[in-house]
Amino acid sequence: DTAVSQTPKYLVTQMGNDKSIKCEQNLGHDTMYWYKQDSKKFLKIMFSYNNKELIINETVPNRFSPKSPDKAHLNLHINSLELGDSAVYFCASSQGSGRVYEQFFGPGTRLTVL
């Protein structure tokens, strides 16, 4: 199936740990995003990469570090996890940037920090 996929779907961890979430898209898109959806369902963009180059970097703690090894992959590494990091993280992709392109979202990764 052509889609945006994320692993893992669920992640439960202790405060202070370091964890990574992986995202892959096989839609041939060259722009990828990370969004955070909090417990009130509010969606906010965190990062955006276009052709492996960081183009959007919102006010996110530097404990969060995205990495794009190639156009089809965008990973999110989180250091020293805090309780407030608990949320659903969505990866998305689009055909490009700088113009209106539909964003396709992955199924999300529910992160719970204990």
Binding site: F42, S48, G98, Y101, E102
Partner: protein, 113 residues
């Protein structure tokens, strides 16, 4: 701060009824207004979108109404069905911000059979 204000937070409608969700914005630079639909446990998916040069766009049972002077836009779901039960997000973006999406807070729609 939230650039797009969405209301109501939730609504319940009977099958066959009309669901109406409203959004308002302040930034007049916004020039693209999509609506996303999210089912529980899934990622959001684009439902319908509008540019400010038109006042209405219809796709099937879903219609966006856009009022540029009032800086408001709304989603109407006609003949609501139980399968429409989901959370709906309005959003806005513009070129100079690389079309970064600013989302409203979401509206959870429940359609009763």
């Amino acid at each position: 701060q939230q650039q797009v204000k969405q209301s109501p937070q939730s609504l319940i409608v009977q099958k066959g009824g009309i669901s109406i969700i409203n959004c308002a914005y302040e930034n007049t630079a916004f020039d693209y207004f999509p609506w996303y639909q999210q089912f529980p446990g899934k990622g959001p998916a684009l439902l319908i979108a509008i540019r400010p040069d038109v006042s209405e766009k219809k796709e099937g049972r879903f219609t966006i109404s856009f009022n540029k002077s009032a800086k408001q836009f709304s989603l109407h779901i006609m003949d609501s069905q139980p399968g429409d039960s989901a959370t709906y997000f309005c959003a806005a973006s513009y070129l100079e911000d690389d079309y970064k999406l600013s989302f409203g807070a979401g509206t959870t729609v429940t359609v009763r059979a």
